[in-house]
């Protein structure tokens, strides 16, 4: 399979579209022109991109939960609860695991069984099975904009139904919804699938309807150095912009060290803008999303509130445009709607209380973000070089060469040579840089940071630090200290 970072031709897109809409019977319900008209009828205050733009202008941080259940009436009720009792500014519709794997028959069974038992037998909302009209029932029942969140390598039909169904924002990308979520999907294939999604969003843009797109920031969610997730976010932004996407939210998952977390958002914001401009996408709007702690959560609800609150605080001090909120039930699986709303309210308290404080220009933050940007430039320039200027080709080659390498990713297309570890203040550094194309001074910097920790801990720099860091959070700590 050959891919390149070029806008899909109308012919190619519509030929593919015919096939895509045939993947499940609800595909028949999608009519592009009718969907454009429907999207145009959605009030401005319910458009995701507009609400984000307003927040960015006012320098405030919006809050958004994750949520999705099998039955649509209950899903509507859940989302209504989260906007009324949780004070959510932005709403999600999290899609179930069967849909993510395109197993619509099994999703159908899930819906049936949920109807029978009266409780959700799916871990999300099966958008494809419900089709356009029921999605519109959902999106039109709510006061706030709604986004589709999932983790689907081939999300083409899902995108078609989602946008026609009135959702105004769509998460995912050919790298970020493959490498951390899948074992066997090739990058060529998923990048191509997401070119389709982005081209579809581009067609809506050209028809006057702007859909917000959000590459998935946190990747595997465990010890991901900001330079890696930021680089992936920028590549996916370029790929999306090439297909005509005009409204992008780039994301990052909290590492836990405040300086590094603020610096990560700062560098993500600066370089996304720079790269989009560099390639002529000056008219693409950029906002940012900060994901509260994606690693293991305390079982205890009070402790979970502590982790949630710290995530909200870091997001607002970083001036992220929105923050994705965890729940005090995180460690136990699917939360009750009350727990979900409680996580939101704790977060709301902090985004309100700290809204006038801004840590982006603190010298330590600026210094840290200079380092992240230097690392990102090493990676992105190499990707561009490997692709001879084509970021799609370059991305495939970069993962093959380990130039892009996501720690702890299950994909067989990921090199897995890079190994992160925390430094003495809990910032994520590299123990092994694998084949990441860093300059010697960057490699020395990471080594020196880990040596500093090693001296403090009176042991040698070693893989044991990584193991200790992975297990540390279960004991309430960021840095895994020796016993």
């Amino acid at each position: 399979m050959e891919i390149s970072n070029k806008k899909l031709s109308t012919d190619a897109f519509f030929a593919e579209r015919k096939e895509v809409l045939g993947h499940w019977h609800t595909g028949k319900g999608v009519d592009f022109d009718e969907a454009v008209a429907y999207q145009r009828s959605i009030p401005r205050e319910k458009r995701f991109g507009l609400k984000l733009a307003q927040a960015a202008e006012q320098n405030v941080t919006l809050i958004q939960p994750r949520a999705g259940v099998a039955l649509y009436e209950e899903h509507i009720e859940l989302l209504r609860f989260l906007e009324s009792e949780g004070e959510a500014d932005l709403l999600p519709t999290t899609v179930d695991s069967y849909t993510r794997l395109n197993r619509y028959n099994e999703a159908e069974t899930g819906i049936e069984k949920s109807k029978e038992t009266g409780r959700s037998m799916l871990n999300g909302f099966p958008i494809v099975n419900y089709g356009v009209d029921i999605c519109r029932k959902v999106t039109s029942s709510l006061q706030n904009p709604v986004q589709v969140r999932h983790g689907t390598p081939d999300a083409r039909l899902l995108t078609e139904i989602s946008i026609a169904g009135g959702f105004t924002s769509y998460e995912g990308g050919g790298i970020s919804y493959n490498i951390p979520y899948s074992k066997n999907h090739s990058l060529e294939k998923t990048i191509a699938h997401w070119q389709y999604t982005d081209r579809l969003v581009g067609l809506y843009e050209e028809a006057g309807v702007s859909i917000n797109r959000e590459p998935f920031g946190p990747l595997t969610g465990t010890l991901i150095s900001p330079c890696i997730s930021n680089s992936v976010a920028i590549i996916e932004s370029l790929l999306a912009a090439t297909q005509g996407v005009k409204d992008i939210t780039v994301g990052y998952g909290q590492c836990g060290n405040l300086i590094q977390d603020v610096a990560a958002i700062r560098s993500l914001n600066i370089l996304t803008r720079e790269y989009l401009d560099k390639f002529g996408f000056n008219d693409v709007r950029v906002t940012t999303v900060f994901h509260q702690w994606m690693g293991g959560f305390p079982q205890d609800e009070a402790k979970a509130f502590g982790v949630i609150s710290w995530g909200a605080a870091a997001a607002v001090l970083a001036k992220a445009t929105k923050v994705i909120v965890k729940t005090p039930h995180e460690a136990m699986g699917v939360p009750t709607k009350e727990a979900n709303a409680a996580g939101l309210r704790a977060s709301k308290q902090l985004v309100s209380m700290l809204k006038d404080q801004d840590f982006r220009s603190i010298p330590a933050v600026v210094a840290e973000s200079e380092i992240i940007m230097k690392e990102m430039r090493c990676i992105l320039e190499k990707v561009e070089e490997l692709g001879k200027g084509d970021f799609a080709v370059g991305t495939v080659a970069a993962f093959e060469a380990g130039v892009l390498d996501v720690p702890f990713a299950p994909s067989r297309y990921n090199a897995g040579k890079v190994m992160p570890a925390r430094d003495n203040v809990g910032a994520v550094r590299f123990l092994e840089t694998g084949n990441m194309p860093f300059t010697q001074d960057l490699i020395d910097f990471h080594r020196q940071k880990l040596e500093e920790r090693a001296r403090y801990e009176k042991r040698a720099v070693s893989f044991q630090m990584v193991i200790d860091d992975v297990y540390a959070i279960g004991k309430g700590f960021l840095v895994g200290r020796p016993k």
């Binding site: 074992k183 990713a409 299950p410 990584v466 193991i467 279960g474």
Partner: protein, 136 residues
């Protein structure tokens, strides 16, 4: 070189990659040749890989609670494939919810496993056991 080869992976429909990566890395650092099958590994894949690489042991992880179901019959399939003596080790969150580990261990030993580990076992423990079992 008298390097021992270990086949490892997360069994069944489980996609928990972090522990798997940690384990594979630690085994390599300890001097083993590691054939890491990653996540979502079927019983047949372990056996194929062990045959292909002439492996000395199979280390199965499971973190999503269905490990007991996923591991049933693995010893018999190994026997059929000619891996009669190969040590089988299992660890992780092998069962749903909190259960008495001695009970779990007993069931896994009865299923033909050589060693079974409770949740939160340090990697060093499995490495030490492997060295003992393989006489290194």
């Amino acid at each position: 070189m008298n390097e021992k080869t270990i086949v490892t992976g997360v069994i069944g429909a489980d996609v928990h990659a972090v522990g798997n990566k940690i384990l594979a890395f630690a085994l390599e650092q300890a001097g083993f040749k590691v054939v890491n099958l990653g996540v979502m590994v079927a019983q047949e894949e372990y056996i194929e890989a062990a045959l292909e690489t002439n492996a000395d042991a199979i280390l199965v992880s499971s973190l999503y609670g269905h490990g007991e179901i996923d591991c049933q019959g693995l010893r018999e399939k190994c026997d059929e494939a000619g891996l009669k003596e190969i040590p089988l080790l299992a660890g992780g969150n092998l069962v749903v919810g909190k259960q008495n580990f001695e009970e779990v261990e007993k069931r896994f030993l009865a299923m033909g496993f050589t060693r079974v580990y409770p949740p939160g076992t340090a990697v060093e423990k499995s490495i030490a056991d492997l060295k003992e079992i393989l006489n290194i």
